[in-house]
């Protein structure tokens, strides 16, 4: 796309929503490589890089960052449209932790020097970030994390390990929650540290997931010396900053995208198995479809909040629970109707996207990640309903 047809960011925000949507849609259709769309598994950097770089070239990598630092500066409602269009076209997730996590953190809490050093490299695809939060003994109870950083001269010496670090095997930087004060109450002794992955003492071990993918890693730190200037914000304020960063992105765990796509696949499996017109199946399918329509309606109420400029509340957890479990009901139905064909490794009839067994297995994770559904229900009970405990 040549420079002349590229609208200035100002124009994007000023566009009516429909015109903006049409514009974004046209560009994605023309520029998102078809072979990367709806990937059955999370892509590695070597695969998703062309798409990342296409977005970078268009200036569309960071919809939520302010324009001064190279973002699109879109309003929340425009960002939602932007992401909805990416989802609609099955655009793959890239190694986007720099864009979605560390960028916004530095923009809000970083120093000018940190912003100048890191943000351009993210936008250029030169730095690929991963997130070091969870630990083997600190998952749902993240605040109990034990990876420790001790200040020695001009360096923090880091010891411990992180787990479920998505695509750490692609990254050259990791942002860490580390314990810097062992005496403080557990949330109060945590700091936020930026760490190059090539420092001595770092080992990355890919973890093969249940769907036989090396999407997650365990990262070990053995006396890793991180320059003290890589601390973000104040020492021992890491927890507060990380929590403040749980912004409106939480809404996307409840996005109807996953279930919408899965329901379309279920219809195809039903067609293939010859049960599309079976009344028992039709009743189940209709129920799922209505579940999805209600999800969309509930999702819209949260989107409307963002559009009004409000922040999301704890009730956004309801979306995550309903979407993840609906998605599982859909994949379970597809698996069930496929019978003996639903236990195969390979897709049905050579159609890459029609794989009931793989979808069934992959859908196990959605009620675990992003805060397990047990944790989400706890949030609803305590923070929405005000129940004791």
């Amino acid at each position: 796309m040549n420079e002349m047809t590229r609208p200035a960011p100002d124009d994007l925000n000023a566009m009516p929503d429909d015109a903006f949507r049409t514009h974004v849609r046209g560009w994605i259709q023309a520029n998102c490589p078809p072979e990367l769309r709806h990937p059955p598994k999370r892509l590695h950097w070597s695969q998703s890089k062309p798409w990342y770089m296409a977005l970078a070239k268009q200036g569309w990598l960071a919809p939520g960052w302010p324009r001064e630092v190279g973002g699109m500066g879109l309003s929340p409602s425009k960002q939602i449209i932007f992401i909805e269009e990416l989802e609609r076209h099955g655009a793959p997730r890239t190694n986007d932790m720099g864009i979605t996590m560390i960028g916004p953190l530095l923009i809000r809490y970083g120093t000018d020097a940190q912003r100048a050093r890191f943000l351009p490299r993210i936008l250029a695809g030169e730095d690929i970030w991963c997130q070091g939060y969870s630990e083997p003994n600190a998952g749902s109870d993240l605040a109990s994390l034990r990876t420790e950083a001790v200040l020695e001269g001009g360096h923090y010496v880091v010891n411990g390990s992180k787990i479920w670090t998505t695509l750490a095997n692609d990254a050259n930087w990791i942002f860490l929650l580390v314990r810097t004060d062992r005496q403080a109450k557990k949330q109060d002794g945590i700091s936020f540290l930026l760490c190059p992955m090539d420092l001595p003492g770092i080992t990355v071990r890919p973890i093969v997931t249940l769907d036989m993918h090396d999407e997650f890693c365990e990262v070990f730190f053995d006396n890793v010396r991180v320059p003290a200037e890589n601390l973000v914000g104040q020492p021992n304020k890491g927890w507060t900053m990380a929590k403040a960063l749980l912004g409106f992105e939480r809404i996307f765990l409840g996005s109807p995208k996953q279930s919408t796509y899965a329901l379309a696949k279920l219809a195809q499996v039903a067609e293939h198995m010859g049960v599309a017109d079976d009344p028992v199946f039709a009743e189940r399918f209709t129920r799922l479809r209505m579940d999805l329509e209600d999800l969309k309606a509930l999702y819209e109420t949260q989107v409307a909040k963002l559009r009004r400029g409000e922040e999301l509340g704890a009730d956004v957890s309801m979306l995550k629970v309903w979407q993840s479990e609906l998605y599982q009901r859909i994949t379970e139905t597809a698996f069930e109707i496929a019978g003996e064909e639903g236990v195969m490794v390979n897709p049905i009839g050579g159609n890459r996207s029609l794989n009931p067994a793989a979808s069934f297995i992959q859908s196990r994770v959605v009620s675990i990640y992003g805060g397990s559904n047990e944790i989400q229900r706890g949030i609803i009970a305590k923070n929405v309903l005000g129940l004791p405990g």
Partner: protein, 364 residues
Amino acid sequence: MSAVEDRAEGIRLLRDSAAAISPRNGPLGRVRALRSTEAGFDRAVLAEMGALGWLGLRVAEEAGGAGLGVAELCALAEELGHGLAPEPFVAVAAIAAPLVPEEDVIAGARVLLPAWAEKPHAVDASGTTSAAIDGATLRVTGRKIAVPMAAGADGFLVTAREGDALSVVLVETGVPGVTLHAESTVDGGHLGTLTLEAARCVRVAEDASSRIARLLDEAAIATAAELVGLMDRAFAITLDYLNTRQQFGKPIGAFQVLQHRAADLKIQLELARAAVSHAASVCDDGAPAAQRAAAASLAKARASDAALTVTRQAIQLHGGIGYTDEADIGLFLRRAMVLAACFGTATAHRRRYAEAAPPLDVDA
């Protein structure tokens, strides 16, 4: 000792003997190593089962077997399910050996596997495969699907029409007109599709439709027992995790929501165990075909659904580590997916139960 006590003691000893191959709580390295190998199972282990007398369990003593019942078959299947043994024990012991009670089959030296289904969700041997005499030779034509571990077989026991009657014919692998296409399953095994084009065969049972129905019911019940063993162990591993994994300063099993979840899984497990045990005794008591079919369908439908529920929740209760291949718990989910579809899916068995069950006693 009464006959009943004798039998219970016999079953206990049989279960103990299973430790030779599938030790309780034994390591699963053998299972992992066999994933995605060509045969998918270890013939030496099958031969060991033969040497222990397991494969001839359902063959009459005078024919060289042990002459034991379906309850004994289920006891062993459950133990093997516990260890996720990939060997086609049920197919051989419940179907192949009774149909071809020859020494090498009972010994596990010659592996014959039943090929009876022609479409997904099949629960009986109906279909269009047929056999006919061509000159002096019997030849079979048709297509059979979903033959577990087919690539490790020496021959197939194919159900085929001969006129109006149903026969079982033996087709050796490698004879002209036999094509086997194996597709990998998620547990590291495979299912074979067998295409037969005027393939030379030998009749091993004729006018056998009621016998085939009985053997398929017994195999479905034994597969349900295998699923009971599988979910029993998956549940035990999960309980252990609930007791040891600490979050928020206590074992996660101390959280009531997880206690209730575990209680629900225990109910499913015991429903399945009871249904299998009931179905086995219905068979061993020589009940009429409809009653046997209903009991078999109850057992297989329950065990298939319960095993998937238990293994799915086992993953959930393990959290992130449950979603890795290095945690053993995932092996149980994968095998449950495959066994749930073996000898009739839950859907197929519910459908058949509706046909086979006696009318509901509305005055009860």
